[in-house]
């Protein structure tokens, strides 16, 4: 469930565009006005606002935002304003670049978006960057990481609910064998994780738990610093209980010495319209404090206001 709060009577996109333009006018920027509009519009509405803005002022709203805003506030507003496919394409591109390398982003995009949404991301990626997501991921990874990440972004999983229990049992057994041999990058191990439908995988992993006494992630904690194993565990979580994964990312982002603003921004901007309510519940359950309170404690100014608004707690 989304945490986004949209007013009952939404102004016309043209009006919103005019208000935003006013917010940019003159010395300084009216950040509160920007938040009061953009943080309370869904992606279809934001898209209409962008078109209206471009038609009226002959400028891409995003360019205007880039000129007027700065730092973490700018990043969260910019990412939020993009439509989901463009946003994911942008984040994916960033994650393959040398200084902003981040394999978690790729795992999140590949595993928590629906198969059709993942394809929209790939189309947006090709349109913007004139190459395919797969070729960039392939080129910028190697070894076990590539073995895992490339099929993960290339796959087009079946979306049906059908489950073959016989297959679930045999593949749970196979997974267990590989885990026992510590063959964590074995071809079949990766094949199962990267090609099976989410329903089938869910059944297989349940079987694993039933048969062998614990969830598979417990057996993947071999070396807690190993990047590959960390990603593998993230893949499993993202495919089965995404809200748990996002809760963890948020928890680590906020509790760190200082805050990992990029991780915080990423999770909030990508999940607000998807399953943020579930993530909030998970966070509260795990940390005994509401997410928006934790965020407010750890951030400040316009950045904090935007995040809290997206989490559904700002003034509407």
């Amino acid at each position: 469930m989304a945490s986004l709060k949209v007013p009952a009577n939404v102004p016309l996109p043209q009006e919103d565009a005019e208000q935003l333009h006013k917010a940019f006018a003159g010395w300084g920027t009216n950040e509160k006005l920007i938040i009061s509009i953009l943080a309370h519009r869904n992606s279809a509405q934001r898209s209409l606002i962008r078109s209206a803005y471009a038609a009226t002022y002959n400028e891409d709203l995003l360019k205007a935002l880039d000129k007027e805003l700065s730092s973490d506030f700018e990043r969260v507003v910019m990412l939020w304003t993009l439509d989901p496919a463009e946003r994911d394409a942008f984040l994916a591109k960033e994650s393959t670049k040398m200084f902003t390398k981040n394999n978690w982003v790729l795992v999140e995009i590949a595993c928590t978006r629906s198969p059709l949404d993942l394809f929209k991301v790939k189309q947006a990626y090709q349109a913007r960057y004139k190459k395919s997501l797969e070729e960039d991921v392939a080129q910028h990874t190697s070894g076990d990481l590539r073995k895992l990440l490339l099929p993960l972004v290339s796959t087009f999983r079946y979306e049906g609910d059908e489950v073959n229990m016989r297959l679930a049992r045999s593949e749970a057994k196979l997974l267990h064998e590989k885990v026992s041999e510590k063959a964590f990058s074995d071809d079949d191990f990766i094949r199962i994780l990267t090609t099976r439908s989410k329903a089938q995988l869910g059944a297989t992993l349940n079987q694993y738990n039933n048969e062998y006494g614990n969830a598979i992630n417990k057996n993947l904690k071999e070396d807690s610093d190993d990047e590959y194993l960390k990603l593998l565990r993230a893949v499993v979580t993202c495919l089965t209980y995404p809200e748990k994964h996002f809760e963890k990312v948020l928890r680590l982002a906020i509790n760190r010495m200082g805050t990992d603003e990029w991780a915080l921004t990423r999770v909030v901007s990508t999940r607000t319209e998807v399953d943020m309510e579930r993530i909030k519940e998970e966070y509260q359950r795990r940390n005994s404090i509401p997410l928006h309170d934790a965020v407010a404690k750890d951030t400040s100014g316009d950045y904090e206001d935007m995040l809290v608004a997206l989490l559904g707690h700002g003034d509407v």
Binding site: S142, P151, S154, F156
Partner: protein
């Protein structure tokens, strides 16, 4: 009523020396259809490969072979029509499924579908696969193929290639260097190389043309000449770089009179799946002409009979 039956005509309409495909339905109607039962007795006596004389009981027994042969030859038109009516995505999904079931020798069909279709058409085939078989194409292939070919085949069917006209020539050059080293290794080793799989399954076709050009410059020889004929690596390269050459070669093989049952079926598949793309069909016909000296239309006219022939020629003429 005809006085005598020229049973050579009948035999020719069904099989005959110019062993072709299809059945001359019209000839059969006018001859066999019109025949007296004594004529048919002479026909059976003359067709020793289809009928066996049971002298003790004084009749000519029909071989299973006769029934099977007719069923096969009559069905070519039928199969072409069914395939032609299907949505292209369903056609391709079924081709891949069948190839997977048949095994080893048919993996080149998977390569063909993965590498000669546009990105949207391959995506469509993958969607159709979900709908028809309740699983994804890549999971079916991955769980049924093992060994060195799995990586390449899964990679090729999972591709969603960029189709625009931007190319980074430096990337192409470095990809060419990698290929040059990898292809030199013997046998199937090259396709076990992750870099080879990466290049072939993620790069755009335009980028691959640039890679091809650089490869040939580096090695001083043609990449397409240097890989052993019957390997999926060669098929993949040919399909990605010169699809009309690939198709003209398999058409030629299927029209060969010594072609086996499976190979003959390629004719229907190529025609039905490519006829909607008139530019490609034109290229294939030209390539065929250049390579083999005759036109495709001529060859079909000579070697194929009946409705099947007329259907193929009609599909072919759509591209003109």
């Amino acid at each position: 009523m005809a006085q005598t039956l020229d049973w050579d005509v009948v035999i020719d309409a069904i099989s005959g020396k110019n062993v072709g495909m299809g059945v001359d339905e019209k000839a059969l109607i006018t001859t066999l259809g019109n025949s007296h039962k004594d004529h048919r007795k002479l026909f059976r006596k003359a067709s020793k490969s289809f009928f066996e004389e049971d002298e003790e009981r004084a009749f000519e027994k029909c071989h299973d072979q006769f029934v099977k042969h007719l069923r096969l030859e009559f069905s070519r038109f039928n199969n072409a029509v069914v395939m032609w009516s299907m949505h292209p995505w369903e056609r391709d999904a079924r081709v891949v499924k069948k190839a997977l079931k048949k095994g080893d020798e048919c993996y080149s069909l998977i390569v063909e579908v993965a590498c000669t279709r546009s990105s949207e058409d391959l995506l469509g085939a993958r969607k159709a696969y979900h709908s028809l078989f309740d699983q994804s194409m890549e999971e079916d292939i991955a769980s049924n193929i093992h060994g060195s070919r799995r990586k390449l085949l899964v990679g090729l069917v999972s591709a969603y290639r960029y189709e625009g006209n931007k190319v980074k020539d430096d990337s192409a050059k470095s990809d060419a260097k990698i290929l040059a080293e990898a292809v030199a290794s013997p046998g199937e080793k090259a396709i076990e190389n992750d870099e080879v799989v990466r290049i072939l399954s993620t790069r755009s076709k335009l980028h691959l043309q640039h890679v091809y050009k650089h490869y040939n410059q580096i090695k001083g020889s043609d990449l397409l000449g240097g890989v052993s004929e019957s390997s999926i690596l060669n098929d993949a390269l040919l399909c990605l770089l010169k699809p009309s050459v690939y198709f003209s070669k398999i058409l030629n093989a299927s029209l060969n009179k010594d072609a086996d049952k499976g190979t003959k079926k390629w004719l229907t598949r190529v025609f039905v799946t490519r006829a909607d793309h008139s530019d490609e069909m034109k290229d294939i016909a030209e390539e065929y002409n250049q390579r083999y000296g005759e036109t495709l239309a001529q060859n079909i006219q000579e070697k194929i009979r009946g409705n099947y022939r007329d259907f193929l020629l009609t599909l072919l003429s759509k591209s003109n």
